[in-house]
Every structure is written in C-alpha cells, then in structure tokens.
C-alpha cells in the first residue's frame, strides 16, 4: 500500500472520527438569543429566555415571499413560508445553537447564539 493511499485512508478516518467526536462532545451551547438575518444582514435579535407570551413576526425576503416566525420562550421556528420546498417549516423548532434554520430562497437564517455576550448571571 503506497504512502499516498495510507495518507488518504488516515485522512478519511480522521474526518469521520473528528466529525463524530465533534458532534458528540460539543458542549451544549448555552445560547438563548435568536439572531435572525436576511441576506447577510442581522434584522432582529431576540432573547428567547425573556419571552413570556409567544408571538409571531413576518419577514419579507429577497425571494419575493415571506416567512412567518413563531417566537416562544426558549425556542423559535418558521411556522409558515412561501418557499416551494418548505424545508424551513419542516425543520420545526430550534432551541439551541446546534443547527440554524435556513430558508435559502429567501436568504433567511435563524441561529441561536450565546446569550448576547455569553452571560452566566447578571446583577439586578
């Protein structure tokens, strides 16, 4: 087995193990601020931990249609969308920073980031 082949095999194993390890070991992100961006620009940041009553907001995007976002305490989702695939709607709620909700046709991204500035507590 030539060196090149060994190198590639090693690389593949590394990629596989590394990705798996990353997914499993990654500490549960403490974020609870949802950042909504449209076409690369942040349009809204919502502190999900402070939401008492659920509400919805509708955003019109460059795709020519709108996404209706439902905001609840601790989680957020796209409840309605005008895109053909509805992938964003099917994804359901997200409550931590593991994966973002993406509506590609409308260039919409909703991601949960660490508490604004990653605060552990606050004076009051």
């Amino acid at each position: 087995m030539s060196r090149g082949v060994k190198a590639i095999m090693a690389a593949l194993v590394l990629i596989l193990a590394g990705s798996a390890a990353f997914l499993l070991l990654r500490p549960k992100s403490e974020g609870h601020v949802a950042r909504i961006s449209l076409d690369g620009q942040v349009v809204e940041e919502i502190d999900l931990s402070r939401v008492e009553t659920p509400y919805t907001l509708t955003i019109d995007g460059p795709g020519g249609f709108s996404n209706t976002i439902t905001v609840e305490k601790g989680r957020i989702c796209v409840s309605k969308a005008g895109c053909p695939d509805q992938i964003c709607v099917h994804q359901g709620y997200i409550s931590d920073g593991t994966t973002p909700i993406v509506c590609l046709p409308n260039k919409l991204i909703i991601e949960i980031i660490g508490g604004g500035s990653g605060l552990d507590a606050a004076t009051g």
């Binding site: 590639i8 590394g18 961006s37 076409d39 992938i87 964003c88 920073g97 973002p100 993406v102 590609l104």
Partner: protein, 169 residues
C-alpha cells in the same frame, strides 16, 4: 465519445434519482452527491479533462431538468471542488483505489456545496451543518465507491471472458 455520452447519461440518471430522496440537511438544494462517483471514475479512467466535460454536462443538464438554479450552483460548486481534488489525486491513485478516492471526493463535494450556501446566504451560519455533511460524505462516498469498484471488477472479468456465467453451448 460514446463513452463520454454514456457516462454523462449515467451521472445524470443518478443525479435525478438522488433528487427524489429526502434532504440531507435543511438547506434547499444540498445533495448527497452520489453522481460524483462518475466524475471520480472518469478522472481515473479517461483523464481530468474528459471528466470535467462530463461534469459540466451533467451539472447543466441536471439543472435544466430539475428546474432549479440553486441546484446548478451547488452541483457546480461541489462537483468542481471534488473534481479538482480528484485531478490532483490521479497521480497517486489508480482506478483500483476508486473505493478510496470516492469518499474523499464526496467530502470535498459536500464542502463545496456548503461553501456555496455560505456565499449565497452571506453568512457562515450554514457551516454548522459541516460535521453531518462530512460524515455523510465519507459514508456515501465509500458506499458508491465500493459499488463502483465491484462493478468495474465484474465488467473487466466479463470483457476478458472469465465470467463463470458465460454459457458455452
């Protein structure tokens, strides 16, 4: 020439079939990249130049048939990155190691798709899906690679007349 057309047809078929599968990650248009196996095979057997021709034909026709521009961007981005890596690797590997080249190509194909998505969305947020895409790349790439390797071995045996299934009478 016939070979090129045949391979393009195969790639296109795989591509269209794959489009019927449920999405891998919640980004519209990101594909498993199964059709990539054809590109990998072509690079090793026909050379990088011809492989590129097949790739472009497949990407273009695929977009036309599926009717989505985003698909074209993803296939192009992913396919080209994979092709480039394969072209570089063709010095080290031979067609006998197709099963090994395939997962690597798949990984870069997915990376390419994700980079395109990041560019379109103008945000790195989509990179959150990278771990999943890397894993699926290795797994599906290995699968298609092994299938292809097996198929090639079988075809070779048939062409040499050693297929035990050949009837004498």
């Amino acid at each position: 020439m016939v070979q090129l057309a045949l391979l393009t047809a195969i790639a296109l078929t795989i591509f269209m079939a794959e489009a019927q599968l449920p999405p891998l990650v919640p980004i519209q248009g990101v594909k498993l990249g199964l059709a990539n196996i054809v590109t990998v095979y072509a690079v090793f057997v026909l050379g990088p130049g011809d492989a590129l021709l097949i790739l472009c034909a497949r990407v273009f026709l695929g977009a036309v048939f599926s009717g989505q521009m985003m698909t074209l961007l993803y296939s192009a981005g992913g396919g080209l990155l994979a092709w480039a890596v394969m072209a570089g690797l063709s010095r080290i590997l031979t067609v006998k190691q197709l099963w090994l080249a395939s997962p690597l190509a798949a990984v870069f194909h997915n990376l390419g798709q994700l980079l395109v998505a990041a560019g379109v969305m103008k945000s790195w947020a989509v990179m959150a899906f990278l771990p999943w895409l890397l894993i699926s790349g290795v797994v599906t790439g290995l699968f298609t690679g092994l299938c292809a390797q097996f198929l090639i071995a079988r075809l070779e045996r048939i062409s040499r007349g050693k297929d035990p299934g050949t009837k004498e009478d």
